[in-house]
Symmetry: C2
Subunit: 431 residues, 2 copies
């Protein structure tokens, strides 16, 4: 029975045209991130399962990961996110590393989920982290980087929005301002996280279900709803405005605005899924109403490195998924048509393969990427192959050309032809 040609469910093959797009996107990202002094690292795709259990995410381990025992009985998990791995690496060299440490990576990650548009089981995610900075200079920098990434692809500021909030502010809202206990607070936070996906009536109904009777009687439903209406920091009630996080957020937004980041807004309803965030959090949203979703998320997580038995390290970082970014770029027509890396296709006229080698070698030596048609087919068929491969130039080599030391070069996009030496034709191809 013949084998299936399908890749594993939820994962995709990268044919050269797909790989080319991925490389284009990743290289542009690398350029921006390195502009800010970040250095690339990587970690193994398999990690001890304990690394993920530490965050208390047993449910995620059980349902959403690729976890198994290796042949030596070790429990391993294919990495689902990079944050635990990078925290492990920093902890391992806690004393040797020079802070502030600026690191990035573009790992492939796996999650066992139902595949859907913009969400596959194997995906890539840019991870940018700065270690060892307590102040908002760190948040300022990484948010600036995300903004510059979108701008580097040519995105208009109106096409995306950077939302900011603070875990500490939310804690203060739940505890100091509304006097709710932790259990109620956690349930409310989860509900608020889904607020924009719910009808307002339904949201209020669920809110009342979570709030204790005495809290409802004390008008806390209305009090919370009023806070959630805040469009900017100055809309917050005075009791919350005095929270140090508000001052930090104000400073951060002023710095961003001064640096030309025009689309950062405060959004008290922004809750990030992961439990490890400790203060300011942020997300970048696609403003297109048909695709209004989060493309990137991050924040401060000062506690993770310390889980490895070393002194904690202040950390701010974010993750940006490849599929959501690619969808955004496509929808905004920001992906250029990418052409093959091959510059010249050699069309052989007659039995000249051996004799043509010196010319081919010279073209390559001059830095051109050259593919040779070795099929022995008719010239017309060789041209068709060059066109199918999307190569711009075809260079014909026959006995007469070899004798003359001059060759016909055809631009397959325009039809232009010229006859010249290898040196001159190289200049033509170089443009």
């Amino acid at each position: 029975m013949a084998l299936s040609t399908q890749p594993y469910k939820g994962a995709r093959d990268f044919y050269p045209e797909d790989k080319r797009q991925q490389k284009y996107i990743f290289n542009k990202i690398r350029e921006v991130v390195e502009r800010f002094g970040y250095e690339e690292y990587d970690a193994p795709i398999l990690e001890p399962t304990d690394l993920y259990l530490a965050k208390g995410n047993q449910e995620i381990i059980d349902e959403q990961t690729y976890s198994f025992q290796d042949r030596g009985g070790r429990n391993v998990t294919i990495r689902t996110e990079m944050t635990p791995s990078v925290s492990r690496m920093v902890a391992a060299k806690r004393q040797e590393l020079a802070y502030p440490l600026r690191w990035y990576s573009i790992p492939n990650l796996w999650r066992y989920e139902r595949p859907q548009r913009g969400r596959s089981r194997e995906f890539w995610q840019l991870n940018v982290d700065i270690f060892g900075v307590d102040g908002i200079e760190a948040e300022f920098e990484v948010i600036q980087i995300t903004d510059q990434i979108f701008k580097a692809f040519g995105a208009r500021p109106e096409a995306y929005e950077i939302k900011l909030s603070s875990r500490k502010l939310v804690t203060s809202l739940m505890g100091d301002y509304l006097s709710l206990n932790d259990d109620v607070a956690i349930r409310l936070i989860r509900l608020i996280d889904r607020m924009k996906k719910l009808e307002r009536g339904e949201f209020i109904k669920k809110l009342d279900e979570i709030l204790p009777a005495e809290a409802r009687a004390a008008g806390k439903t209305e009090k919370l709803l009023a806070v959630l209406e805040a469009k900017q920091l100055s809309d917050l009630p005075d009791e919350l405005r005095s929270n140090p996080s508000v001052t930090e957020l104000e400073k951060l937004m002023a710095l961003l605005s001064q640096a030309g980041v025009a689309n950062a807004v405060f959004d008290i309803t922004l809750m990030r899924g992961f439990d490890y965030y400790t203060d300011i959090v942020f997300e970048v949203f696609d403003t297109n109403p048909e695709n209004n979703r989060s493309m990137m998320g991050g924040g401060r997580y000062d506690g993770l490195v310390g889980q490895f038995g070393v002194a904690p390290v202040a950390t701010v970082g974010f993750g940006l998924g490849d599929a959501t970014l690619a969808n955004f770029l496509e929808a905004n027509r920001l992906l250029p048509e990418l052409k093959t890396e091959t510059d010249v296709y050699i069309v052989l006229i007659g039995d000249v393969f051996e004799k043509a080698q010196a010319v081919v070698a010279e073209l390559r030596k001059r830095g051109l990427n050259v593919a040779v048609d070795v099929s022995g087919r008719k010239i017309g068929d060789q041209f068709k192959t060059a066109e199918k491969k999307g190569i711009t130039y075809a260079l014909m080599i026959g006995d007469k050309d070899l004798e003359a030391g001059k060759f016909n070069l055809k631009n397959l996009k325009t039809g232009d032809e010229q006859n010249a030496s290898v040196a001159d034709l190289t200049k033509v191809v170089r443009g």
Copy 2:
């Protein structure tokens, strides 16, 4: 209890200095391979286990792979080599693709083996394949590519040797020349594969154990030993020299020699591990007696694409492992000292973070990679951090510099300092 900072056994973390070396090696490889018109592709790291079973390697699946059931009951394996995946991808688009097809990839692969020098459980392997070429133009091209890869790193031709043989020739040696049956032939091939690792006496003893009594009586031990002594194709007995594979090998070696590949030699004892090779096979050996091992291996395997129920496609390809290559480059001192991608480290004098932003932005806009010290520490400590990070230039920004519009730039390697505008200092950094 604190979590372990160790990566999974047999896999390694890539700190920025490690990642930099990996990128240097891979980018040089990409440059050479693309020079020959090859295009990069990729496939998922998880494949259906069936893909590997097809080659009949149940033993390898059971003992050397990371295989498990996913949560949906599918048997999956983390890829152990790229050949099955690329054959699957070609088969899936058999009719649409334009031949000759030139593809390459640098996947990470996993094998469950005892970790040792030059062999880890996670490793990377350059895979180069040409599809759709029946003649030795294909072998000529891919062997030329491996030679050019070694030369691109600056390797002397004496430092490595390219060994060539042919499966068809070995088949003819066993069947036509020695009249041995398939079972004996297979056992002999496995023994010859280990010949150079055995004492000569032991090798002959094992040879006699495999050969049937009547074959030994007919002097076939001596006949085989004589053939295995062949140093070049012309040393082969006439009965074997008339084999078409010999003519092919002669043509191939002539082409290689003409193209400046000076170190290709015929070696009848070269057997490649995988069963799927159908004709010419080749390996590149490190000639250093202390490290005399195979660094790259490949050959023709015309049968794999056809396993997917489509018409077969002639294929020649090779794999080159990252660790063996890196060991070779290190031993031959061919790895340059790589410096960080960060060009300039900003040393802030006093509380000028906010005011310094315009200068930092201008440096970045001019294309420099700039990291800012936001620690607020003493100037001396900031310089020390820049040095520890291996950054060549430090640029000092204080109130007076901002007023003057001129800044002190210090070359941390030479100690040279100069005071100039951002535009002029950018030129200095650019060299």
